[in-house]
C-alpha cells in the first residue's frame, strides 16, 4: 500500500481548460512513483478559514518526469485559490490516497461524467499500454475538456446534455447508440450516472469498477465522513459502510449500494 505524506509540493504549471476547469501539474517524484490511476491527492488551502483538504483525482502520472497532473473544477473558495496558483508556487498536498483502479480485461469501456472524466485519462493510457482496447465514453453538461487527449488511446464517444456535441443525453445513451461492447467497465462521475452505469453493467452482465465521491475530512479512513453503503457487512466497520477515501474510491459496482 502506498505510504502517503503531507508536504509542500512545487507547481510546474496551471492551465485553464474551460470556463471552470483547470489543470495543475505537481512536481514530486515520490508521489508520481507511487501513484496509481484512480487514486487522489488532497490539496490544502492557504486560507486559514478553510480547514479541510480538497480531494482531487489524479488525471495523469509521469514517472520519468516525476510529475502528476490534477484536473479540477472551481466550485468554491478552495478550488478558486488553487486555480490562481502559478508555476513556481508550492501547494500543501497529501497523497496518493485511496485504492485506484485494477487493470483487467481485454476490451474496456471507460466512462467519465463531468469532473469524473480526469481520472479516466491516466487509466486509458495505462490500459492502452497493456494492449487493452479502450473505448472512452465522456459525458458533459456542455463545454468539452480533455476529450482530445483520449483520442491517442482509443475511440472516444461523447454525450452532452444539450446535444451540442455527440449523443444528446447521458453516457448510457451514447453506449447504446454506438452499441459498445466490453468485458470491463470503468466509471467515474456523479452518483446518478453511476447508478445508470451499475444498472447497465448488471443487465449486460459486464463487470464494472466505479469510483465514488463524497465529502471528505481526513482522507485516510479515520473520520468516517465519506462512507458509502456496502452490500455486505464491511470487514473494517462491521456495519454496511465502506470508507470511500480508504477502501475506495474505486469499488466493483456490486459491492456498493448507490
Amino acid at each position: 500500500m502506498s505510504k502517503a505524506v503531507k508536504k509542500n509540493v512545487a507547481i510546474q504549471k496551471v492551465e485553464q481548460l474551460s470556463s471552470d476547469i483547470f489543470s495543475m501539474y505537481l512536481v514530486d517524484a515520490s508521489i508520481a512513483n507511487q501513484a496509481k490511476a484512480g487514486q487522489f491527492i488532497s490539496l490544502y488551502s492557504q486560507d486559514g478559514s478553510n480547514l479541510l483538504p480538497r480531494p482531487i483525482s489524479i488525471c495523469e502520472i509521469d514517472q520519468e518526469e516525476g510529475t502528476i497532473r490534477l484536473v479540477f473544477r472551481v466550485v468554491g473558495k478552495g478550488t478558486k485559490e488553487f486555480s490562481k496558483l502559478q508555476a513556481g508556487d508550492t501547494i500543501a498536498a497529501m497523497g496518493p490516497l485511496g485504492n485506484g483502479f485494477t487493470l483487467e480485461g481485454q476490451k474496456a469501456i471507460l466512462i467519465g461524467g463531468g469532473i469524473g472524466i480526469p481520472p479516466m485519462l491516466e487509466l486509458a493510457k495505462q490500459l492502452h499500454a497493456k494492449g487493452v482496447e479502450v473505448q472512452a465514453v465522456l459525458g458533459y453538461r456542455d463545454a468539452l475538456f480533455l476529450n482530445d487527449e483520449f483520442e491517442q488511446y482509443g475511440k472516444v464517444y461523447i454525450s452532452t446534455e444539450d446535444g451540442s456535441v455527440g449523443t444528446k443525453g447521458n453516457v448510457i445513451d451514447a453506449i447504446k447508440e454506438h452499441g459498445l461492447m466490453a468485458d470491463m467497465i470503468y466509471a467515474c462521475g456523479p452518483n446518478p450516472m453511476l447508478r445508470g452505469v451499475k444498472a447497465y453493467a448488471m443487465e449486460q452482465n459486464i463487470r464494472a469498477q466505479i469510483s465514488l465521491e463524497e465529502k471528505m475530512a481526513c482522507g485516510i479512513g479515520a473520520c468516517l465522513a465519506c462512507v458509502c453503503k456496502s452490500k455486505e457487512k464491511d470487514a473494517h466497520s462491521h456495519v454496511h459502510n465502506k470508507r470511500i477515501c480508504k477502501d475506495g474510491p474505486v469499488f466493483y459496482c456490486e459491492e456498493v449500494e448507490l
Partner: protein
Amino acid sequence: MNTAVTIAGVTLKNPVVTGSGTFGSGKEYSDFVDLNKLGGVVTKGVANIPWAGNPTPRIAETASGMLNAIGLQNPGIDVFVQRDIPFLQQYDTKIIVNVCGKSVSDYCEVVERLGDEKVDLLEINISCPNVKEGGIAFGQNPRAVEEITSELKKRAKQPIIMKLSPNVTDITEMARAAEAGGADALSLINTLTGMKIDVDKRAFALANKTGGLSGPAIKPVAVRMVYQVANAVNLPIIGMGGIMTAYDALEFLMAGATAVSVGTANFTNPYATVEIAAGIEEYMKRNNINDIKKIIGCVK
C-alpha cells in the same frame, strides 16, 4: 523540564491527547505520527453494539470550522476490544476509551465490558441523545448528568472523564453535577450544534440537518467554558475546541485545563498532535518554565 501531567492518578507524558472521533483508534494516523509521542490516544466513541451512523453527507466545511454528523458509527465493543485495544497497547501512550450510548444501560454495558481491559481512562460522551427522555442529550440536564455519572462510577474499574456538552445555559451547573456524581475528571467542550444550508441547492448541507461544530471557530467559547469550569469544580480538565497550534493549546492550559485534546486539526495537518506537543515544550524552554504545572491555570 517536566511536561508530564496527571489526570485521576494516570500520568500522561505530555498534555496532548487526541480528540475523540477524529483519530479513529490511532491506526490510520500512526502512518503520520509516532503515537509514542502523545500523552494519550482518545478513541472514537464505542457503543455496546455496532452503530451504522448517519447517511451522507456527514460533514460540511464552515468558516474556520466544520460541521459533522457522523452519527457515532462504530463497530461495537466486541470488535473494539479484540482489534483496537491490542493495536494501541503496542505504544507507550495512555489509552483513553470514549464511550457512547443511547441509554444509561448501554453505557454501563460498555464500561463493565472494559473493566478487565488494559485501558487507562474512560471518556464518557454524554452529548448523545437520551432515547428515554425523547432525545434531549444527557449532557443538557444536570440531573441526568449526575445520574449517569454515578451509575457509571459504580461499575467502572477505570477513572471516568465526563465529556460535557457546550450547548447549555450554564456549563458550571453540568460540571458540578458530574462532580456530585463522582466523576474523576471532565473534558470539554464537545461540539456546538450547528446547521449549514446549501443556498444553490436550497437544501441542508448535512443529511442529518444539524451537526456538531468544531474547529478554531469555537475556540473562544471553549476557552471561556474551561475557565469557568476550572473555577467551579475541583476536577482535572481536558480542554478542547479548535486547538490547531501549541499557542492554542497553551490558552487552554492557562485557562485551567490539565491536558488538551487535538481533534479537527488532524484533518488540516495530520502531524498536528506531535507538533503541538513539541511546540509546548519549545514555549516552556523559551520562557524558562521547568514544569508545565506552572502554566496550568496561571491566568486568573
